[in-house]
Symmetry: C2
Subunit: 337 residues, 2 copies
DNA sequence: TGTTAGCACTCTCGACCGTTGAGTGCTAAC
DNA sequence: GTTAGCACTCAACGGTCGAGAGTGCTAACA
């Protein structure tokens, strides 16, 4: 495609992102490319429409960029490299957290991201399969219940209630904990599941405790995996002109509650530092009008999670990218300690 | 007020709850009180308007009940006693949870409530001050970090990261845990704060651990108290005709995010089993169009939390009440074990 | 004296215009 | 290849109008 067409397309997208209304040739001629007349731009726009980059809501309206146009635009941006725009101090400040659970750090990052950008945001915890058990301890809760706390090497903590024999007092539980820790340290949660089957045969501990661990490790990859995705700032969606109708907004909000679908979408970044699913590319029917930007963060020993933003296709991708990159880097820094 | 006026008012409210449109005299005459003519009802409605129970959006429209009317209506209902309507099996089923954290039980109750009723729901955990420590344990996480787990007598579990001296190994931490548990068992979290000051003087443990406990117990009554309130099903709001404008809905959703305000509202039930804040009574500006129904649940040893529903003033109070009471009872049953 | 039928009146709502303005496509001139 | 000009299209806005729902008032009725 000729350079001029690209420049015009870019101007159209920039303007549409700003105004959310169809862009006319005169607007482009006046505000963006004053060396060209509106007639020339009209001709080019007509071409661009034929190429599938633009469409008109009705015959005498301005043009609206298509997903294909955004895709080109985003690819252009990424090729040029992400420019570090002067970044909000606000966001940086939000990352100066006091020590706390890894989960809390990650969640508050997402919250900050949503607040600063005005879009909806999400974080996905590092994949659980790769997590290795660092420590494991039973804390007595009541006569027949204990809390099984599993610390993984990334500092991620999971816990669950397990039923224990009433005979076991605190010291006995500690002894069991110690033994289990020795047994399982360094193994992944998935390995533990299989290991436990053999282990259960020798039965040196309370069988109910073993069952509990088994339950937990099964839980951790499937059902509970849902907890691994946190979505924030969904209310921001109601502020966008494209979601003024309550019905449409509701559909989207419910779709964002469907963690499984969203998780599949944002789980991996295909090896990229940054990935954008534009419009229908995201594959979720209710989100066909939305783009999803996904960035990766790292957690020391090769564990990776993702963090990102969700907004209407009409997003200021440039600044979104730089914000996301900043966020991802800040998280890497914090979490490497 | 005469009985007939009450009956008419009740019919108006019933109809308005159903249709969300102003109710005319003819509708009432036909659908509810066919022994009276519309003219008679018109006269009564005129009186009711003068008494402040009804209002007209414009001169030739039907009537809409005022907050005062709902208040009368609700008081009448409560006086008559809450009727156990045939209750959704769905809700009951949702309460058959497997053993898990108390927090999870309570939260999933709220979720079920929101889903079954189609309104927004909330739960508030039992007040923290009254909770007594049952056990307390440090779980090593990394060289200089440990997870402090506090189990309270209601089975509520709180944890926080604390910094510990690198010298301390797992056994040492367990020893400290044991000692701290002995020291603090049976005390309330608030007492612990003051006790710790003295205790710190004798310093038999790691001072950083003590600081951690102190931090946690302070945290637990103030800042973190916000976590004690969970709100679910807020998206349902977008389905109500009174919140079709995205702007209005957004305002309300943000107001519901403001946990402090909401918490103050739902924290106590003034000794009642069931309490309703109708419209402006709730005192939150953005929620002037909403009613908040609050029910109490108990947790064994005198600890009380609340659970409730939030919806437009125009709510089917009768069924709301019976659902809420059922939920509260189900929770009492589960949590007493 | 309370209830009701009837009637004039009010007001919203939706349909049905013109008018306006933004924007287009096409043509012809530069 | 670019641009000016012109005819054309269409959404949006505003005004008018009739239908329908609902009221208040009055007078008749039981």
């Amino acid at each position: 495609m000729e350079d001029r067409k690209k420049r015009i397309l870019r101007a159209i997208i920039d303007d549409y992102v700003l105004t959310a209304t169809p862009v006319g040739s005169r607007t482009i001629a006046r505000k963006y490319l004053s060396n060209l007349s509106s007639a020339t731009i009209r001709n080019e726009m007509s071409d661009l429409e034929e190429l599938g980059y633009l469409s008109q809501p009705h015959i005498s309206a301005g043009r609206v960029p298509s997903s294909k146009a955004y895709r080109l635009y985003v690819d252009m941006l990424l090729e040029e490299g992400i420019q570090q725009t002067a970044q909000d101090e606000e966001l940086k400040a939000a990352f100066q957290t006091r020590i706390s659970h890894l989960e809390d750090v990650v969640r508050s990052a997402a919250q900050a991201l949503a607040q600063v950008t005005g879009y909806a945001s999400f974080v996905l915890m590092p994949r659980q399969e790769s997590l290795r058990i660092a420590n494991l301890q039973l804390v007595p809760v009541s006569k027949a219940l204990a809390l099984l706390v599993i610390v993984t090497d990334g500092g991620i903590i999971r816990d669950t209630m397990v039923q224990v024999s009433e005979r076991l007092d605190a010291d006995a539980l500690y002894a069991i904990s110690k033994m289990l820790s020795e047994q399982f340290t360094g193994r992944t949660l998935r390995e533990v599941q299989t290991a436990l089957r053999q282990f259960a045969g020798q039965s040196p501990g309370d069988p109910q405790v073993l069952q509990g661990i088994m339950d937990l490790s099964t839980q951790m990859d499937s059902q509970n995996a849902v907890d691994q995705l946190t979505v924030c700032g969904t209310h921001n969606i109601l502020g966008f002109p494209e979601y003024q109708e309550a019905d449409k907004a509701r559909q989207l909000l419910y779709a964002l509650d469907n963690k499984e679908a969203l998780m599949n979408l944002v789980r991996d970044t295909r090896g990229e530092e940054l990935l954008v699913h534009i419009g229908p590319e995201n594959g979720i029917e209710e989100m066909r009008g939305c783009s999803v930007a996904v960035a990766e963060y790292r957690l020391g020993r090769g564990q990776r999670g993702t963090i990102g933003l969700i907004g209407p296709t009409r997003m200021p991708y440039q600044s979104i990218f730089s914000t996301l990159r900043m966020a991802s880097q800040a998280m890497n820094d914090i979490l490497s300690n």
